[in-house]
């Protein structure tokens, strides 16, 4: 590259640069890290440009299935919105509309049939059909969301898996390892159960979050809306604990102790919208959260002062921004090398 004086605008005007800051990826990271190494004199300008860009946001809406379907149906029905300022030029032929609807429906049917036939391998005659299980599995660094056949909405966190039986619609019972957020659809007379370790959470129709990583000593169940009952699966008595909205249950695996407390929904379930939240988090928590979230190894050098805590919220930030913010706020050195984030305390 030519020797040239780069200004902040040069970076901000560069498509590649914008792409890197907005949608970070390994390849982009690699390219720009190398670039900074080769042009140390431009590093400050580049960092300034990145800081500006990563702090600018426009209004944003998250995906809504309902909206998507509503507008789609209206378009297929070929009816203008009430806002449309002009008179319709021609009168619609009603038969024509029904023809279109019929065409759309048969089209859907044909496609579904087409898909079905490919997957329809098991003979139907099996009376005592075997229950099989499906597993959703996320490695570190990956989150996903999906709907179950009863249209329950699930957001599954990194390093977590959710297991669903094939007879799910008769028996809505799923098993969770790790963390997930659920929005359960209400169905008359049918419970939805989440098994996490020895705890069973029974719900009718609610929104809640369960965190139960096998290697963690705690299981935490936080209720956003509705009502849930929590039972200990290994406990044969019928005792159960009910949670109300904005209440959270923390269960210690070792001592089998329960504790109920209030929580802030914004902290507890922000992860499902891509926000990494630390709320007076100790070093161990910070370490394991970062490792899961970004799929990196966190290495700690030196010792932090006692009562070291981190508070902050990272909204869809890449790990470089995170490292920079932490080092700025806490006055420590952060270094990113390959798959390792090194935190250096003095």
């Amino acid at each position: 590259m030519k020797k040239k004086k780069f200004t902040i605008e040069d970076f901000l005007g560069d498509k590649n640069f914008v792409e890197w800051v907005k949608n970070p990826s390994k390849e982009h990271d690699f390219f720009w890290m190398k670039w900074m190494e080769n042009h140390p004199e431009h590093r400050p300008t580049l960092l300034k440009a990145r800081h500006i860009l990563s702090n600018i946001k426009y209004r944003e809406l998250h995906h809504s299935e309902e909206r998507f379907n509503r507008v789609f149906d209206k378009i297929l029905m070929d009816t203008r919105s009430a806002r449309y300022p002009y008179q319709e030029l021609y009168k619609k032929d009603d038969r024509m509309v029904w023809f279109r609807v019929a065409a759309a429906i048969s089209f859907l049917a044909i496609f579904s049939f087409f898909l079905l036939s490919g997957y329809h391998e098991k003979p139907e005659s099996e009376e005592t059909s075997q229950i099989t299980f499906f597993e959703f599995n996320n490695p570190r660094g990956k989150r996903s969301s999906f709907r179950l056949p009863d249209s329950t909405y699930v957001v599954l966190n990194a390093e977590s898996s959710l297991i669903i039986p094939s007879d799910f619609l008769e028996n809505r019972k799923v098993e969770l390892f790790g963390e997930a957020y659920f929005e359960v659809e209400k169905r008359f007379g049918s419970n939805f159960t989440v098994v996490s370790g020895e705890l069973n959470t029974l719900v009718l129709g609610t929104k809640f979050n369960i965190q139960s990583y096998p290697e963690d000593s705690l299981i935490s169940i936080a209720l956003v809306e509705g009502l849930v009952d929590v039972k200990n699966g290994s406990d044969t008595s019928k005792s159960k604990i009910s949670l109300e909205p904005n209440q959270k249950l923390r269960y210690k695996r070792k001592t089998r102790e329960y504790r109920k407390s209030d929580f802030k929904a914004s902290d507890e379930i922000a992860w499902k919208d891509g926000m990494l939240v630390f709320n007076h988090s100790g070093l161990d928590e910070v370490k394991s959260k970062i490792e899961r979230w970004y799929d990196v190894q966190v290495k700690i050098i030196g010792r932090p002062e006692e009562n070291w805590q981190l508070t902050g919220c990272f909204d869809n930030q890449n790990i470089i921004n995170l490292a920079e913010s932490i080092s700025f706020a806490k006055g420590i050195k952060c270094q990113l090398k390959d798959n390792e984030l090194i935190l250096k305390f003095n």
Partner: protein, 243 residues
């Protein structure tokens, strides 16, 4: 969802699970998911994989319904997010998307091939539709949009680490006031460049600018203005100095 109506066999749920699975790992977009969200999703996706948008558009103009579904599915979220830059009223944007697609579908036979890109075409149509609502309401005119402070509003998130610092409130107000010094057109061009990854030609098309050079000028003037505004703010300066 329509799909459940047609799937009465319960050993097929694996299929449902899979086709509704959405991935949003590390900031990548979820196009696969969006395409497969509709009935027969996988089949759609395969049908149009590797097909250029110009060809998909051609299919659409020839009356191919899957092509329409594909376009709608792929761009709905993006159009909605684009529309709310003009107004906070989400129902208005929904109506605009509805009327815009109905328009395109009714006159699909007369539509010309894509000149710039499908995205630019859809953005332009939606912008026209929204401004058309404005025009017919006598109290908001198109010229007024150019001075509309709420259009393409930039939000500065303080959610990062310094949220708990003491003078946050005061700094935030200063910053918000400062950022309003950018004109609507400047904010608009920054939106296309930062958020939509649009090329100069696409921006020229949507903003009805004379040529690519004027897009570039507008963009760089906006970038310079943005920089000046932000660097006059002490909090920003303090943070940036670290680099």
């Amino acid at each position: 969802m329509h799909i459940f109506i047609f799937l009465p066999f319960h050993d097929l749920y694996s299929l449902l699970f899979m086709s509704f699975k959405k991935e949003h790992s590390s900031g990548h977009n979820s196009e696969n998911y969006k395409i497969s969200r509709l009935v027969g999703g996988e089949a759609f996706y395969e049908k149009f994989q590797g097909v250029s948008e110009a060809d998909i558009w051609k299919h659409f103009t020839e009356g191919d319904e899957p092509a329409f579904t594909y376009i709608y599915t792929k761009y709905f979220d993006e159009l909605l997010n684009y529309g709310i830059q003009f107004t906070q009223e989400i129902s208005l944007v929904e109506d605009a998307i509805q009327d815009m697609f109905i328009d395109l579908r009714r006159k699909r036979k007369q539509l010309k091939p894509i000149k710039v890109s499908l995205k630019a075409l859809l953005f332009k149509s939606l912008k026209n539709q929204i401004l058309m609502y404005y025009r017919t309401k006598s109290y908001i005119r198109e010229q007024k949009f150019e001075k509309d402070e709420a259009a393409f509003e930039i939000e500065l998130p303080f959610e990062s680490i310094w949220i708990h610092q003491t003078d946050e409130q005061e700094e935030r107000i200063k910053l918000e006031r400062a950022i309003k010094k950018l004109t609507t057109r400047q904010r608009e061009v920054l939106y296309y460049h930062f958020y939509k990854n649009l090329s100069y030609i696409e921006i020229q098309d949507i903003m009805r600018l004379e040529n690519v050079k004027s897009v570039r000028n507008l963009l760089y003037r906006s970038l310079a203005a943005l920089k000046t505004i932000l660097f006059n703010l002490p909090i920003f300066y303090a943070v940036v100095k670290l680099g």
